[in-house]
Symmetry: C2
C-alpha cells in the first residue's frame, strides 16, 4: 500500500465545542515538536494538510480522528482562511520546519465546526498531538497560526445558527427544564438572561412544547419539563 | 515588473445575484476557448486561480473585475468546494488544457457571493471571458465544473441571510412600498406570499417603519411608504 499523497497547500482545522453548564469549551491540542525537539508551547486547533485524493469533509473527519480520537461527529464547514501571512509566528515556522516536507508552502485552511457534549466522547491524542484537552472558550490563550481567528469565526457561526436551527436538540435531554435550556442559550450567546423574561419568550415560541410532567427525584421543587418540536421550528 | 505568481491549487468563484422584480438573476460568463480554439459552450461563474501573494478576498475582487468589469462590490465568502473530482467534464478538461499551465492540478475553489441591482453596474467582459451576461436563476443551464452546486449553495446562503440581516436595505429605495418589499422577499425565497398575510407579518416586526407618506406621481392609488430601521433589526 502506498502512502496517500499530501496536498501541501490546503489544510483543514476543526473547532469542536462542548456545551457545559458553565459555558462553552473548545478542543485543543499540544503539538509534538518533531525530531528536532524544538520548544513548542502554542496550543492549536486539531488540523492538518489534506490528502490529494480526499474531499475536504473527509479530510476534516480524518484529521480530527487522527489527532484527538474523536469520530462520528457531524462537522460543518465554517470559513476558509487564506491570508498569505497566516503563518507568521516564529514558533509556527520552527514547528513546521521540524515536521513538514514543505514548511514554506502557503497553506489555505478550511475551518470546520461541531457542537458536542464532551461526556459522549473519549479523547485519545496521537499523530503529532502529544496531548488533547478541553479548554474553556473564555480562557483560551494565544494559539498557533491564526487559530484564534478561526475560533472567533466558529463562535460567530454558532451564534447565527442558534436562530436558524434548534441546536439544543442534540445537546439537551429529550425532556428538559427551562433552566437547562436557558443555560444552553447563555453558553452559546455568551450572555445572561433574566429568568422570567427568558421563560416568557420561550413560551411565546411554538416549537418549545410544555409537557404535562415534572422532574423526578430532585431535592428542590421539581421544575416542569419541555420538549422541542423540530418541525415547527423549521416552519418559522 | 514581474508577473504575479499563480497558485495552481486554489481558485475563487463569484456568484453575483441581481434582484429584479420578477426574480433573481446571476452573472455568468462565456469562456474564451484559448489558442486551440476548442469548442466551449459551457457557461461559467466568473472565477480564476488566485495569486500567491493575495488574500482570498482580494483575489475574488480582482477576478470578478478582470472577467466582468464589476468592481466595488461587497463580496462575502460562502463555501469552499474541494471534491477531487470536481473537474470531471471532458469540456472543462479540454478548456483547461487550452488555457492553463497546470491543467491537471487539483483545484479547490472558494465561492463568494453578493446581491446587487444590475442597473448600478456596467458589464465589460475581458481576460478569458468573451462575454458576460445576467441569466435568470430559474433558467440557468448546466454550467462548467461544479458551478451549479456553487450557485445552489449561494442561493441557500442568501435565504438564510434574509432572516438575519435586513438584506433589502441596499436594494430597495430608502423609502419603499410593501409591494416592493414583498417582491424582494419573494425573489430571494423563491416563494409567493399572500399580500394581506405579508402585510400583517411586516407590520408586526419592529424594524420596518411606516412613514406618514405616500407614493407620488403614480397612475394607480398611491401606496404608503416604509423604511428600514437597521438598528432594531440587529437587536432581534
Amino acid at each position: 500500500m502506498t502512502e496517500p499523497r499530501i496536498n501541501p497547500n490546503v489544510s483543514v482545522d476543526c473547532v469542536i465545542f462542548s456545551f457545559e453548564d458553565d459555558g462553552l469549551e473548545v478542543l485543543l491540542i499540544e503539538r509534538n515538536a518533531g525530531q528536532n525537539r524544538i520548544e513548542d508551547d502554542l496550543l492549536a486547533l486539531p488540523g492538518n494538510l489534506i490528502y490529494e485524493d480526499e474531499t475536504l469533509d473527509a479530510a476534516a473527519n480524518r484529521v480530527l480522528r487522527e489527532l484527538t480520537g474523536l469520530k462520528n461527529i457531524y462537522l460543518e464547514q465554517v470559513y476558509t482562511f487564506g491570508d498569505p501571512a497566516r503563518i507568521n509566528k516564529q514558533k509556527d515556522q520552527d514547528w513546521l520546519h521540524s515536521i513538514r516536507a514543505h514548511p514554506e508552502a502557503r497553506v489555505i485552511t478550511v475551518a470546520y465546526t461541531s457542537l458536542v457534549k464532551k461526556s459522549n466522547f473519549k479523547i485519545s491524542p496521537s499523530s503529532f498531538a502529544r496531548q488533547a484537552m478541553w479548554v474553556k472558550v473564555k480562557e483560551v490563550p494565544q494559539l498557533a497560526f491564526d487559530h484564534n481567528a478561526l475560533l472567533e469565526k466558529a463562535l460567530e457561526y454558532l451564534k447565527h445558527k442558534i436562530y436558524i436551527e434548534p441546536l439544543g436538540y442534540e445537546l439537551l435531554p429529550e425532556r428538559f427544564t427551562l433552566a437547562q435550556l436557558q443555560k444552553l442559550y447563555e453558553a452559546i450567546l455568551d450572555d445572561h438572561f433574566d429568568k422570567r423574561n427568558f421563560r416568557r419568550k420561550v413560551l411565546r415560541t411554538s416549537f418549545i412544547i410544555p409537557l404535562n410532567e415534572k422532574q423526578k427525584g430532585v431535592a428542590h421543587k421539581p421544575a416542569g419539563l419541555y420538549r422541542f418540536d423540530k418541525s415547527k421550528f423549521h416552519k418559522i
